[in-house]
């Protein structure tokens, strides 16, 4: 087994644990590269189907290409899609910097969906190498009724035994991609032939490396127009993946505050 086989096997194991232990369960599908890989891994785990709904928390500000992609693959992959929307930005904590406020809308939208569907498990495609506070996450991360991430008091997690507290109001965020690096995601996309929105590939010398809302995500200079070229680019690049995400950079603790409040 090479490194991708091992990452795949571990993610399948995690998805199967979640499916066995958490009901009702849903997977967040943000339409980006990581969550497409995640849907793909679920189909591997469950032999061609996704036996739980996928959720798109719609900020209403995604790129039109992404909405088209969503509708096409909901059909092709026979997904049960749950849609949720986000409150207007005026309802969000005004002490947050502007871009973070925009991200916090998504947190609120997600919270509403968890409530609505009484979810016990939410599968999310975050990775440790994306952001320093995500590097401290658990594979199964319990969230109390306020959905807060209690970073100072995370449960022990070892030997593939995951926390599954069954208490009123507690849900678990499940992170099957935590150990994957950005380049692993791309190599897996290449190996498996996983479809992506075109925005990831260079047009006129620019491409998106990470896709958030239109107004707070900016493209990078790049000529990489195919998956193979993206991989080659990543092998030499020195900038971080989320450099184009405004909300990460507004203040030192902006991202941590978002995450503690329930952001992904």
């Amino acid at each position: 087994m090479d490194d991708l086989d091992q990452l795949e096997a571990q993610s399948i194991y995690i998805l199967r644990e979640a499916y066995r232990k958490l009901k009702p369960l849903a997977m967040l599908w943000s339409l980006g590269k990581d969550s497409n890989v995640m849907v793909w891994l679920a189909r591997k785990a469950f032999l061609g189907r996704v036996p739980f709904p996928v959720m798109h928390v719609d900020t209403g500000k995604k790129f039109p290409e992404m909405y088209r992609f969503r509708d096409e693959y909901t059909r092709k992959w026979e997904l049960e899609l749950l849609l949720g929307d986000c409150p207007p930005v005026e309802e969000i904590d005004p002490t947050l910097p502007p871009a973070a406020r925009s991200a916090a809308r998504k947190t609120a939208g997600l919270a509403a969906m968890i409530e609505k569907y009484k979810l016990e498990g939410v599968i999310a495609g975050i990775r440790r190498d994306e952001q320093a506070t995500r590097a401290k996450e658990r594979v199964f991360s319990p969230r109390g009724s306020s959905h807060k991430w209690d970073v100072r008091n995370q449960p022990p997690e070892f030997w593939d035994q995951y926390a599954t507290p069954h208490e009123e109001g507690v849900h678990i965020r499940v992170h099957p991609l935590l150990s994957w690096r950005e380049i692993d995601i791309w190599r897996y996309i290449e190996r498996e032939g996983i479809p992506l929105v075109d925005l990831y590939f260079s047009k006129n010398g620019k491409r998106y490396r990470s896709l958030g809302d239109q107004d707070i995500t900016s493209p990078i200079e790049s000529d990489a127009a195919t998956v193979a070229e993206v991989i080659a680019e990543l092998q030499t690049t020195r900038t971080s993946e989320r450099a184009g995400r405004a909300m990460d950079h507004e203040s030192e603790d902006a991202f941590e505050r978002l995450r503690v409040a329930g952001y992904l």
């Binding site: 086989d5 096997a9 793909w40 970073v151 995370q154 991989i231 900038t239």
Partner: protein
């Protein structure tokens, strides 16, 4: 450029050691000196350090949380990918504070090697010892000792050697043979990624050279097969068994034994989606197989080959690292998670506890928080497992409490010797055998464990049966819950742990009496099935569970002691049947409903059952 290169999986390396000995600094330095940092990160670190009035604080690279930076301490483990040449590593920064031991274990448990960071000027400290102990318990074989902050010892060979010797002696006590001692300064970068010009006397490898020498995880494909069932799906009229192969190999056509049922089945196919058809799969793979005949295993069943069976026992000797904030005591019950299986277990004994000051083992009646011990677990059923072996997933037990919280790690060592737990009450040199006693009395000993709700009639029926049996010249006595609570168990309350201890003591006394040849009727509510299983374990042969059965309404109407009334009024709490649970026995040896017949009739049934059970059969042979 072609991207179809194959790579080995990343090797996880955990950095451990006492708080402030320089773990986070070391990692920051390592990542920086080996060019593993994204652009802009260094500028961010400098900015964050400046804001707090510090020089460049490398530890901020991993101490990403605000409280970590403000208080200068790592709270939770971080895992960070790290490339050295073509080889992938994952560096795990573990917190050094005792309070965050659970986070340290979370980071360390799957590491292939550990770097134990020790402040050379200060020497080994409490968490150095605790972490070293844990490395042993979680089975990390490769330990590199980094003697840090040698700048404070002026890079002096003698001083560093003296510090090193003290550490070596400590590790030897734990059977840890470090592969290396590296004198280094994380802050200054000496012997981290480049050789230090200030210590020319040191000829060994730098830290990066040492990491490159750590062997890749050994393959487990050639060991006997272990496939724990994770789940069973029914898709498109086909039943598939899902699970990860922990070791060995599965081939289509293999005959496998399914868990403790002992049923066998043939592997009919290995299923997959968007993958080449497989006829064989190896350790590490998450597979889905179909079986023929189409038997239905349960989650937790271990699939193995008939000739390669694992250990099977209901009493297990185990090591323990204890993570709950309250101490562990004998008699407590947990779920033991073992791969995908879960078993009900009770702590039958605490065999020794490690004293951390000098790493010696001592007898104790409890395991303190963050403590280490060796214990015996009694399970309510036979458990299949392999003894804990570093480098495999064998024997990786985890204890979970009623709230599904992980409270301890329990590397399983092997089956417990039943005799050792009972030596004290049954001297091996006794010349009077059970048989001799039985001959003298005309019947065998036995324990009849009468469980039921308060007011079900346990005491009344026990006393009535006692006098009948005595009339038949049977040597009989009654151990009544209330009597025990007034004397032997006067120190116990009604918490779960105390109830368990109450049961354990009653069982222990009953056993002693039964071994002298007596017939013992125990009348005890004993509401928890796990506690009654513990009693069965303690008593051993000759244990009979008798369910004295009256429904709650009947019991409450009888209320001989006025207790239901008191419980309803809230004057007593934790009362079985009102606000504390009663587990109805699933398969009692004798079921005695008391609602219908008279006391005399029911007592007669019990007496008959007891007399039959203890009678000496004609065919009974003298055992040697």
């Amino acid at each position: 450029m072609s991207n179809d290169f194959r790579q080995d999986a990343a090797t996880p390396i955990v950095i451990v050691g006492h708080v402030d000995h320089g773990k986070s600094t070391l990692i920051g330095r390592l990542l920086h000196d080996t060019d593993n940092l994204p652009e802009g990160r260094v500028a961010q670190i400098i900015e964050s350090s400046r804001k707090r009035g510090l020089k460049v604080e490398w530890s901020f690279l991993l101490d990403s949380l605000q409280i970590e930076r403000d208080q200068g301490v790592t709270v939770d483990s971080t895992r960070i990918p790290f490339l050295l040449g073509n080889r992938q590593f994952v560096i795990v920064d573990a917190p050094g504070h005792r309070q965050f031991l659970r986070n340290m274990i979370t980071g360390a448990a799957d590491a292939e090697a550990a770097v134990l960071v020790i402040d050379a000027a200060e020497g080994a400290q409490e968490q150095t010892r605790r972490h070293a102990m844990l490395l042993r318990l979680i089975g990390i074989r490769h330990v590199i000792v980094l003697m840090n902050k040698v700048d404070l010892l002026e890079y002096d060979e003698q001083k560093i050697a003296a510090s090193e010797q003290a550490v070596a002696a400590l590790l030897k006590q734990l059977d840890i043979e470090p592969s290396l001692f590296i004198p280094a300064s994380a802050r200054e970068g000496d012997n981290i990624a480049s050789r230090s010009p200030k210590m020319e006397w040191y000829k060994g490898p730098t830290l990066t050279e040492a990491l490159a020498l750590v062997p890749s995880p050994a393959g487990r494909a050639d060991l006997p097969l272990r496939l724990p069932v994770q789940d069973v799906y029914r898709f498109d009229a086909k039943r598939v068994v899902a699970g990860r192969i922990e070791r060995g190999r599965v081939n289509v056509g293999d005959t496998l034994v399914i868990g403790t049922h002992g049923t066998t089945a043939r592997v009919a196919s290995i299923e997959g989606w968007h993958a080449a058809p497989q006829i064989s799969a190896v350790a590490g793979q998450s597979v889905a197989i179909t079986l023929e005949p189409d038997v239905i295993p349960d989650r937790g069943d271990l699939l193995h080959r008939p000739e390669e069976a694992p250990i099977r026992t209901a009493r297990i000797r185990s090591r323990l690292f204890w993570l709950r904030q309250e101490p562990l005591r004998v008699g407590e019950s947990f779920r033991l998670r073992l791969a995908t299986a879960e078993h009900q277990v009770t702590v039958a004994s605490i065999d020794s506890v490690v004293r951390l000051d000098d790493l010696t083992e001592h007898a104790s009646d409890h395991v303190p928080p963050e403590g280490f011990a060796e214990i015996t677990l009694a399970a309510s059923e036979s458990i299949l497992f392999d003894a804990f072996t570093p480098g495999t997933t064998d024997g990786r037990g985890v204890l979970v409490d009623r709230h599904q919280r992980i409270v301890g790690g329990a590397p399983l060592i092997g089956p417990a010797d039943i005799a050792s737990g009972t030596r004290a009450i049954h001297p091996t040199d006794s010349t009077v055998s059970l048989w001799d006693r039985a001959q003298a009395r005309g019947h065998r000993g036995g324990v009849f464990w009468m469980t039921g709700l308060p007011g079900a009639g346990k005491s009344t029926i026990a006393r009535a049966a006692e006098s009948r049996l005595f009339g038949q010249k049977i040597d009989v006595s009654v151990l009544d819950g209330d009597t025990l609570r007034a004397g032997l168990c006067a120190d116990l309350g009604f918490s779960e742990a105390d109830r368990t201890e109450n049961v354990r003591r009653a069982a222990a006394v009953a056993r002693i009496l039964a071994e002298t040849g007596q017939v013992v009727l125990v009348a005890l509510i004993s509401p928890r099935a796990a506690d009654r299983d513990l009693a069965r374990q303690v008593v051993g042969e000759g244990f009979h569970e008798v369910f004295v059965d009256a429904d709650q309404a009947t019991c409450e109407a009888r209320d001989p002691k006025g207790l239901y009334q008191a419980a309803r009024a809230g004057r007593i709490t934790g009362f079985t049947g009102i606000d504390a649970p009663y587990d109805v026995p699933a398969t009692p040896d004798l079921h005695l409903p008391t609602g219908a017949g008279s006391v005399a009739e029911v007592a007669e049934r019990l007496a008959t059952y007891v007399a039959d059970s203890v009678a000496l059969a004609e065919s009974t042979r003298r055992r040697s």
